[in-house]
């Protein structure tokens, strides 16, 4: 090798080392001591071993104002590239807090956008790892414009490729809106924060004193605001969670999810022991799900938010299904504002990405009360109806116990486009529960009776015998078949197999107008 070659190689090696050195050993040590991994370590944890390839590593900021020309680092505070997850290609960006606090300027935004564009061209998932102080103030409007470029791409990619945001540090101000547009948000217990305005601004504007974690920590966003979908103790477990989620999803909206052969143990026989006949007695619907899906395959989404509705992914004979189920342990499984939002968004995600839907029904009503009415339950509840009606993926339902009134209609009823609806023999499909119904339709008879209590009981018996069963619905065709609990897995799996070739298209339109 002649000297010119040697010099050129040496120069490249030095440049590569500068890229990999990121913010320097001191800042990396600080990142580690706060329990966080570096941007590149996160990429290594996210992708299959040895598959991550960095792109655009030498992109550098053009900014010169406020001494920025002396602070330039190659990569500009973000690592971008591609690799494989479960053997399938994905693109990702990972903000580097050790370089300028991961702040976003023109060059960083350009790097992220280029990776997003590649993900869209390749039709593969995009994962955005956030750990940034926000917009780089020294770069002025260019940083803000960079956010707009990212939001625009997030929006255009929505429903085309799965987009996942992983918040492993601060994510403040406008930066929050990129994760909010994406499909799923992951956070860690101690180090993640998301807020539009931080505690200092909140205090100066409203006088409210609140800590960072109480304002926008993982606990708040996973259980109160519903912004976050998954929370993990630390970076490593969080990124493993991303890998787990991607295992249920296809690469894009034109493909099917991967098939993962697992243990197909049918525990349907246990179902009659899990669900009490008395419709007032609660049970954990997750035990029902786990009894008949492939072993250990149920992956719950938003487990701590709107707990009256359980949603998540599972596998049946190795194939992904999305599950929506009323949770009788919380608010008796009734639907309210948050559950409607949670369910509708999940259903729409599944419909975007060809994931069949299974609905497990045990619902007494939409939750009554002024708080719900004034909060807009009409508008929010309508989202659930809209989402089910609009979804063209295979839709199978099982009415386990109660299915009353408008809530019954909203939970994947035949009229809203369900393909197959099963019911257990203890199912009660009616306009409302017996007590409420008798109070209305038997009011005059009870008032006139010599013994009102006795008359009421008599009318309750008559109502129960007439309506509180699945057979009238089956006679009218609202239920396809009344099945035994032990037949649950077999029947549901068979229905999804039959529906694999389902093709239902909607009238041509720009997009529907879901009541947001």
């Amino acid at each position: 090798m002649d000297q010119k070659w040697k010099d050129a190689v040496e120069k490249l090696i030095q440049k590569r080392e500068t890229v990999l050195a990121a913010g320097g050993s001191e800042r990396i040590a600080k990142q580690h001591s706060s329990g966080k991994l570096t941007a590149r370590e996160r990429m290594e944890a996210l992708f299959d071993d040895g598959t991550f390839v960095e792109i655009d590593g030498m992109i550098t900021s053009r900014a010169v104002d406020f001494g920025m020309d002396k602070k330039k680092r190659p990569g500009d505070g973000v690592v971008t590239g591609y690799g494989r997850i479960h053997g399938r290609v994905a693109f990702a960006s990972s903000q580097d807090f050790t370089v300028g606090g991961g702040s976003l300027g023109e060059a960083q935004a350009m790097r992220i956008c280029r990776a997003m564009d590649k993900a869209m061209e390749m039709k593969v998932p995009f994962i955005s790892i956030n750990d940034s102080g926000g917009a780089r103030i020294e770069e002025g409007i260019d940083g803000l414009s960079g956010y707009a470029d990212i939001f625009y791409r997030n929006t255009i990619a929505s429903g085309v490729i799965p987009q996942i945001s992983v918040i492993l540090g601060p994510c403040a101000g406008g930066a929050c809106y990129s994760p909010a547009i994406t499909d799923y948000i992951f956070m860690t217990e101690k180090n993640s924060q998301m807020y539009i305005t931080g505690p200092a601004v909140v205090k100066s504007v409203t006088g409210e004193v609140i800590s960072t974690s109480d304002l926008g920590g993982a606990g708040v966003h996973s259980s109160v605001s519903g912004v976050s979908h998954f929370v993990y103790p630390d970076d490593l477990s969080c990124l493993n969670g991303v890998r787990q989620l991607l295992g249920y999803l296809p690469q894009n909206n034109e493909e099917m999810p991967m098939t993962v052969k697992g243990h197909a143990i049918d525990g349907s026989a246990a179902l009659s022991g899990i669900v009490p006949v008395d419709s007032k007695k609660p049970y954990d619907v997750r035990s029902v799900i786990n009894a008949f899906v492939d072993q250990n395959s149920f992956f719950e989404v938003q487990p701590d938010f709107a707990r009256n509705l359980v949603v998540g992914f599972a596998r049946l004979d190795g194939d992904t299904v999305g599950i929506v189920a009323n949770q009788s342990q919380v608010m008796a499984g009734s639907l309210e504002i948050n559950a409607s939002d949670k369910g509708a968004r999940f259903i729409r995600f599944c419909d975007c990405f060809n994931i069949p839907l299974l609905t497990l029904v045990d619902v007494p009503a939409f939750l009554p009360g002024s708080q719900q009415e004034h909060g807009g339950i009409i508008r929010h509840g309508a989202k659930l109806l809209f989402a089910y009606s609009e979804a063209t993926v295979p839709k199978v339902g099982l009415i386990m116990r109660k299915a009353y009134g408008g809530a019954y209609i909203a939970m994947n009823s035949k009229g809203t486009g369900a393909d197959v609806v099963y019911a257990w023999p203890i199912a009660e499909i009616a306009v409302m529960g017996a007590s409420g119904a008798v109070s209305i339709i038997g009011k005059k008879e009870i008032e006139k009776a010599d013994n009102p209590a006795e008359k009421r009981e008599e009318l309750l018996d008559a109502y129960n015998n007439k309506f509180m069963n699945p057979y009238i619905a089956a006679e009218r065709g609202y239920v396809d078949e009344v099945i035994l609990p032990e037949e649950t897995r077999e029947k549901i799996a068979a229905a999804f197999k039959m529906l694999k070739t389902k093709k239902r298209s909607l009238p041509r339109k720009k997009h529907g107008n879901i009541p947001l």
Partner: protein, 59 residues
């Protein structure tokens, strides 16, 4: 572990895999691959970690 021992083990493994005698294998060059920064972090902090891995049975 000493480099010579590691090399000897690698030669033995290659010999077994190819069904030849170890002495017939010539090592022309070798490169030491260092632990990655993540691997070091996991080892230094005594973290139990297994990467979640799936396989598409259709592939």
């Amino acid at each position: 572990m000493e480099t010579e021992k590691i090399l000897a083990m690698a030669v033995a493994a290659a010999a077994e895999e190819n069904g030849v005698e170890p002495k017939r294998i010539i090592v022309r060059s070798f490169r030491e691959i260092h632990k990655s920064s993540l691997e070091k972090f996991i080892a230094d902090n005594h973290i139990t970690y297994h990467k979640y891995q799936l396989e598409d049975s259709r592939a």
